[in-house]
Symmetry: C2
Subunit: 254 residues, 2 copies
């Protein structure tokens, strides 16, 4: 029984990539076979695991070239049980490429299909936009996690995102389910952060994960070492909290 | 002699909006007549100054309806000398609306033209994308400021942004000049932040502003009070540093 989880929020810098990396790595450490799909042209997930020069084909080639197959693109990572579909800046051209193609939203779903039985969990990182790339992620997924930063502009785009999800459920992917809302970069000492947490809870109720991710310098540093937080700083708050998140995700999704 | 400054970086959460707000407010406090143009569908600049319900027409209407004029859309703010062209979520439709319209990139430039002699400085906030909206900002501007966060993924998209700027200078707006690179969210105590600063300096040399903006809770809080950092926390590092930035911008641009 396999899950495909999109990590999405069109607001920038809210912790989508940090969550995608550490959720994927955490599930892999628990023995799940995991695929991390980098759908962001900025390729932040990708460079957190592999050397840019070692990438031959990327997810852009998989989505646009019928001759390219999943196994030509997928890469192993240093984390056991964790594979990666890498991104490259060419992915930014996807929108233009798929204009007027009513099959556009289904590209990722179709190209992932042959491989989905090989994985217990697929985690998909997305860019800060609500365009064709993010639509592809939402159409290909069974679940959605929305990371929301505990900061002033936090809730701005969420209404927009909810309407996009509603439209996708209605037209393109009825099984898409909001797995949960993850409060990130939480600074419990500040009134602002606690106030925003309250707002998020008012808006999403029990969809909000009990786990919240605190602001942590270790989380900021770990990608520089090409490691998840679990190997880089296993005793840090980031590691403890993302481990809690993995458990909570497994309870909700499996 | 008037300047039009786009604040752009397609990476999310790097301080574009925080810089747009405080640069605009700081120049206004120095007696310049300033227009802040919010070109982000997330409308973060807008909600940092006005109540959403008080907006009638937005910059989207200005860009897409020939019957709508600049004076129908522009709003005053609580800051003396500072006007605002507000954004709304409808702006997200701009890309789709202007597809195939080779005049698309010039919409903002044309609609701002009648008003540009009324202002000494126009500051334009952009979304974390390199699409039609950001192209409009770059075509309408005399200068560009690139805020870069002193964090691991900082330099990722900058090559892409530089190439976009190069293309725009070659084809659409030869006078566009990189005013400078602003290092933001700098935490001088961490090796990571200092290491990233070095990388930014290697990449951009003397284009890097001498002013860097330190991580500051006050900067995070001020939009919640609908104030610039100068009125909200005039003695804070954020206020001191953004004031220094205003002086440096004026030296470089005027
Ligand atoms: N809990 C945290 N504590 C401290 N820093 C964090 C935390 N989570 C993320 N960060 C840092 O914040 C920045 C943005 O995080 P991240 O890249 O994960 O966000 P994102 O939503 O993927 O951004 P984008 O929208 O640009 O893709 C990064 O420098 C990251 O290291
Ligand atoms: N120097 C700073 N110190 C602390 N927090 C900051 C600083 N600059 C910005 N922030 C906070 O970081 C978050 C992102 O900043 P901001 O919204 O200005 O970035 P942005 O580049 O406009 O993001 P987006 O790409 O989503 O438009 C906000 O919560 C903001 O308050
Ligand atoms: Mg990201
Ligand atoms: Mg912004």
């Amino acid at each position: 029984h396999s899950v495909r989880i999109a990590i999405a929020n069109q607001k920038g810098g809210v912790g989508k990539t940090t969550t995608a990396i550490n959720l994927a790595a955490g599930l892999a450490q628990r023995g799940k076979r995991v695929l991390l799909v980098d759908l962001d042209p900025q390729a932040n997930c990708t460079i957190s695991f592999v050397d840019r020069q070692s990438i031959e084909l990327s997810v852009y080639d998989l989505l646009t070239e019928s001759a390219v197959e999943f196994r030509d693109v997928v890469m192993k990572t240093s984390q056991e049980n964790l594979d990666l579909l890498p991104a490259r800046i060419s992915l930014a051209k996807l929108e233009g490429k798929l204009i007027g193609d009513f099959e556009g939203p289904y590209k990722l779903k179709d190209r992932l299909h042959p491989a989905s039985s090989d994985y217990d969990a697929i985690v998909i990182d997305t860019p800060p936009t609500l365009g064709m790339i993010t639509v592809n992620a939402l159409v290909a997924s069974t679940h959605l996690i929305i990371p929301i930063e505990a900061a002033y502009f936090a809730l701005e785009g969420t209404q927009d995102l909810r309407e996009t999800v509603k439209g996708i459920k209605a037209r393109l992917n009825p099984q898409l389910d909001l797995l949960g809302v993850l409060v990130t970069k939480h600074d419990r000492r500040t009134l602002l952060s606690r106030g925003v947490y309250e707002e998020i809870y008012k808006g999403f109720g029990e969809k909000v994960f009990e786990t919240t991710i605190s602001k942590s310098v270790r989380l900021e540093e770990s990608p520089a070492y090409r490691e998840s937080i679990f190997t880089f700083a296993p005793a840090s708050s980031g590691a403890i909290e993302y481990a809690k998140l993995c458990d909570e995700v497994m309870r909700r999704a499996y």
